[in-house]
Chain length 194, copies 4
Amino acid sequence: MGKNRLEAFSDGVIAIIITIMVLELKVPHGDTLGVLAPLASVFMSYILSFIYIGIYWNNHHHMIHACKRVTGGILWANLHLLFWLSLFPFVTGWMGENHFAAIPSALYGGVLLAAAIAYWILQQTIIAAQGVDSPLKAAIGTDWKGKLSPVLYALAILSTFFWPWVAQALYVAVALLWLVPDRRIEKSLRSDGT
Amino acid sequence: MGKNRLEAFSDGVIAIIITIMVLELKVPHGDTLGVLAPLASVFMSYILSFIYIGIYWNNHHHMIHACKRVTGGILWANLHLLFWLSLFPFVTGWMGENHFAAIPSALYGGVLLAAAIAYWILQQTIIAAQGVDSPLKAAIGTDWKGKLSPVLYALAILSTFFWPWVAQALYVAVALLWLVPDRRIEKSLRSDGT
Amino acid sequence: MGKNRLEAFSDGVIAIIITIMVLELKVPHGDTLGVLAPLASVFMSYILSFIYIGIYWNNHHHMIHACKRVTGGILWANLHLLFWLSLFPFVTGWMGENHFAAIPSALYGGVLLAAAIAYWILQQTIIAAQGVDSPLKAAIGTDWKGKLSPVLYALAILSTFFWPWVAQALYVAVALLWLVPDRRIEKSLRSDGT
Amino acid sequence: MGKNRLEAFSDGVIAIIITIMVLELKVPHGDTLGVLAPLASVFMSYILSFIYIGIYWNNHHHMIHACKRVTGGILWANLHLLFWLSLFPFVTGWMGENHFAAIPSALYGGVLLAAAIAYWILQQTIIAAQGVDSPLKAAIGTDWKGKLSPVLYALAILSTFFWPWVAQALYVAVALLWLVPDRRIEKSLRSDGT
């Protein structure tokens, strides 16, 4: 399978996820500023998830760029990642509508954690398919961001039961960590002349 | 008609189907774990359908890859397949919300069966268009999976009236059967140097 | 503007329209065959609209295929067509939920008529941009289907006030008329070696 | 990052936004013309937003066409623009359902203003990345439309509190201003032989 179709399909699914998330922002009844107030937390969780999906789209692109051949394993590891990303609209809406309450925030973190693990599985699957001289393995280096994020998500999930806002702070912190595009892969690929 | 646009359009429709299915997972009221419980069966049916749509996307790609020229007949056979796939969100939601009750499970199987028949019609239409030396015909070989699946779907539909859970087991079994990508076509095409 | 992006954007919009139409088929409460009965007319109108959107996608492809250069006028004529197509989910749902009652059926016909006119405007805009030797003009020939369809839609709209089912019969008849892909353009283009 | 994927992703998101907006046009209960009447303002706001999204798609295409290399900054400036565009369905629905009342109309103008600023930021980011000989900078010239629009949006927002219909007139006026595709960039690029 050519990687173009994998890329196009993933782009399509990610574009739909990022856009249908806004449907959780239900049009309120009434025409006053007051009716918008209860939507503030839904809106804030929408912004957070929009950034996360943007980060996944960006990093996914860099990763697939470093992958020449698509195997069956890569294809299913990719669908597994898309599955967890597809749950973003649900958990974003639930967390937002409940004003960042403990359990919805923990579930949000659970989906973030699952997506991070799915991303890592996809990465390892590509590296395994590329063999010993894997350009992706060379490109990601120590992958400290990829290793730190799941730990922070787990801490955030735990913290929802004690200080719910620490969880939100951690979700924002991890997003900021990734907001910078992964220059390592870009750099490594550029030095290869690709 | 070039096959690229057929492929792009099919990918778009399949990407939308797989993503809007999650909209049947309605955000519940309340912020406790208890409000999630009734969603468990919707979530399980979502996972099952996600895998099925993934399988169709994968196999569809391999089939179209083996098709060089798109005729009007192929185009409409393809739209016919997309029609049945487009009913997945509806039957998935209905089966999930009714906790795998008999009639919704039978209808789910009916759509699976119709999609399998539509897939077979598309396959035969491509083979007919390719003529005697059809590479697709050579590639699919005995097509035992394609012949067995409809039989298992029919058995599952019947079983919903006696032992509903047998139907679910059969749906999962057929999914597992197909989860392995169709290596026959891949192999056959690779030996052709394409 | 290259025609590729126009084609990709139109494909995307049409793929979304054809798929979100199914969201009008609301998952019913209850798990009996009886709860499906009221959905029968929604389902039938969904089939009809699915075929119409499929026809538009197919014919649109052939038309854009015969168009080499995209002008600002073509772009807006195309968006105008997409606008009317985007109303299909609404009128399909309204007609279906009201069991093909007179006024919803007339509005359905009105959108069909407007889409046909928008298609004709797009066609004329492309022909005008191509100048005297327009390959599209040569390809469509007498365009009897394009001329007959709006007349039949208008008749159908009128008939909704006397015999509503005549309108449905006419909608089905026009769909059957177009179901055969437009071989004239295909043939004409092929003889040009494109 | 190649600009093709940026373009394809943006096209996907814009195609979804323009299409899901129609979901705010809820299918009414009843089969009389009377039940459509309350939808008139939702329909009018849908037309307005459809044109705006069409304008953004068109101008976005011309801008990206003049951009050869995509940096991380361009990517995030582009996602920032898509974020504001993704709010169109919400504000369109809210303004339409409240018959162009003051506060929903002001919020609509606020999203128009934010999108215009996001577009300007994206433009400046591309120009900065291109350096002193930026073809985009040369192409946009004085950019009087880009400078006038935010001023008119701000005036419209203010006017909602005194004469709400002036705001609507201004929104229509700015749309008409942009409806003509940006020939400057097209012209400039053509003279470069691109």
